[in-house]
Symmetry: C2
Subunit: 349 residues, 2 copies
């Protein structure tokens, strides 16, 4: 840890992740630095996506934006999970409104073999570390800073499919047909991700989250083969910060994930607090699980639904969040109502 960083004033997230009894749950929102904020959209109009990601001053500005405007208890660095594929030498395009695309997706054993762990890969991500350090300074200790990476299975999905998909069946077909290549790719991604997250922590990230956005497309057996071992390797090799695992849709694997050593597991809104708590036991944090679309309800109903969520999870070992990223069409005052309701909560009655 850099001794020059300002001391942390709001350490609620860190105390919660450490399993301490807290005055109320901390709150943040996935994609809280995003398109629902008018100031973000202004920057979006001005700079291409990867310019925003790769310019530490812009990434810092965007990361701090919701702290000023919405007031969550943590910042999460503005970046993208696909930068790890770029660092592996894969071209990734991101055009506004159409999602990510990879012009030359991996579709053969030869193409898979060309992707290798190389010492120089991590250096291609140095702009993220610069952004983290710059953001830590800019936050000035107001809230902790979260770093993140995509999970190997999710990055594999994009690498093979070449774009978003409802089923990622091209990626799955490749994993079925070329199991050795799949294992190679998942391992290479895992190795870089471990280095990347540790570098993020060195650069200033105080918590890291791993996003397995497409784990919900897997059966329990596929999850054990293609997702869990790599998540386990990541959690086991991260040093210096607690890890939050968010495998969206993988309600069926909560119990296994709770054994990895992660400090918290993210859950989506299909998974009730009672189900999740029963699956994971009494010692790990849960994070979630407000339906992002529920932020489109009238504000009094946002407040009511947020309180119901808080009542169901209880005070400790819980991080209030959405069950997926905030939607671009959420009015900022609805997001603020969500955050404010958590901050005003006085515990289970």
């Amino acid at each position: 840890m850099n001794p020059a960083f300002p001391s942390l004033q709001n350490d609620l997230l860190l105390r919660t992740l450490a399993g301490q009894t807290v005055e109320r749950p901390p709150v943040w929102m996935m994609r809280q630095a995003g398109r629902y904020l008018p100031d973000y959209r202004a920057l979006q109009a001005q700079y291409p996506f990867f310019t925003r990601v790769q310019t530490p001053e812009l990434a810092t500005q965007i990361t701090v934006m919701p702290i000023d405007q919405i007031g969550p208890d943590a910042a999460i660095i503005f970046s993208d999970i696909l930068v790890v594929l770029q660092a592996l030498g894969v071209e990734v395009l991101m055009e506004t409104g159409s999602g990510p695309s990879i012009p030359q997706p991996v579709r053969s054993a030869a193409a898979a073999k060309a992707i290798q762990s190389r010492p120089e890969n991590i250096a291609k991500l140095s702009y993220v570390m610069e952004a983290l350090t710059m953001t830590r300074m800019a936050l000035n200790g107001r809230v902790p800073l979260i770093g993140f990476a995509g999970a190997p299975w999710t990055l594999f999905c994009y690498l093979i499919e070449g774009k978003g998909s409802k089923t990622f069946d091209t990626a799955k077909a490749f994993a079925f047909q070329e199991p050795e290549s799949a294992q190679h790719l998942l391992s290479v991604i895992t190795d870089l991700t471990i280095d990347y997250l540790n570098a993020q922590i060195q650069a200033g990230a105080q918590v890291v989250q791993v996003f397995d956005s497409w784990a919900g497309l897997l059966s329990p057996a596929q999850f054990e083969q293609w997702a869990l071992p790599y998540l386990q390797a990541i959690v086991s090799n991260i040093q210096g910060a607690p890890v939050i695992l968010f495998a969206k849709g993988s309600w069926y694997a909560l119990s296994e994930m709770a054994q990895t050593g992660a400090a918290a597991l993210g859950i989506d809104w299909t998974t009730s607090a009672a189900f999740a708590r029963a699956a994971v036991g009494s010692f790990i944090c849960l994070q979630g699980n407000f339906d992002p679309a529920n932020l489109l309800a009238p504000i009094p109903e946002v407040i009511l639904a947020t309180r119901e969520m808080l009542d169901s999870f209880g005070n400790d070992l819980y991080i209030a969040n959405l069950g997926h990223g905030i939607l671009p069409n959420v009015p900022p005052d609805h997001a603020r109502a969500f955050v404010d309701t958590v901050k005003a909560w006085e515990g289970v009655v």
Copy 2:
């Protein structure tokens, strides 16, 4: 039931749905009459989608096609869930490769109010009943014929959103912001669906399935509000044939759905046999749950995975099926390997 229909030779599905002990589980595949069959693609090139749906001779030909070529234990009428919206006066377009679209989606209370239960609505679906009767004759008793409809929540999603979506947040936002209009629309769709499914049974359907394709986007509380009451109304008012409910992704509501009186519940591949059986109890059939993408694996692995599925579900109260529709790029001999493996299965060792 029309006494002129040929007598049924393969009644395995009906005996299974009736809870009888059977020699092996019956097998069919969702979307088994679809794009993975070359003969279907030939018809696709020749006739627009809704011409295929609305022409009883074509619908019959397509429905029987997989019975001849793949050999499942049931036929399911070739149609589309969105025909019910058409019968309510909503224009629905279907263009090859781009999915369904509704040029004038419902976005206001006034537009919602304009959609009403009218006695003449059901008459607009008479071509489906003709197709069912014609198919029953064409099947000549080889296998039973399944009719189907979309669930109210899923049709509501399309009606409001106007197209497919990963999140259907426009539909959810409408339900949050205009709860009375949402309830009205869900009720109107439910009423027509009850009439429609009963008419299908009168016309020759021996089993009916209700597809709630987007129920997996709901939280348990939302499911209880927007999905379950309408599914319950449908199951309670269907006469003369067993009902299969398939609420994709709604693992969290299996227990509630098992109380509706449905004869079977469909499950997807994220939901294990053990979890589902524990949730639903010992008296209702389960249907599923092979990952459609797993059919893209080499044939020996398709066979192995199919056997593992059969072992996990056991012999009785079980219908072998996919966990979602068959993918267009599945080689027909892989689909045949799946079906043949079920037919050759000799029970749990």
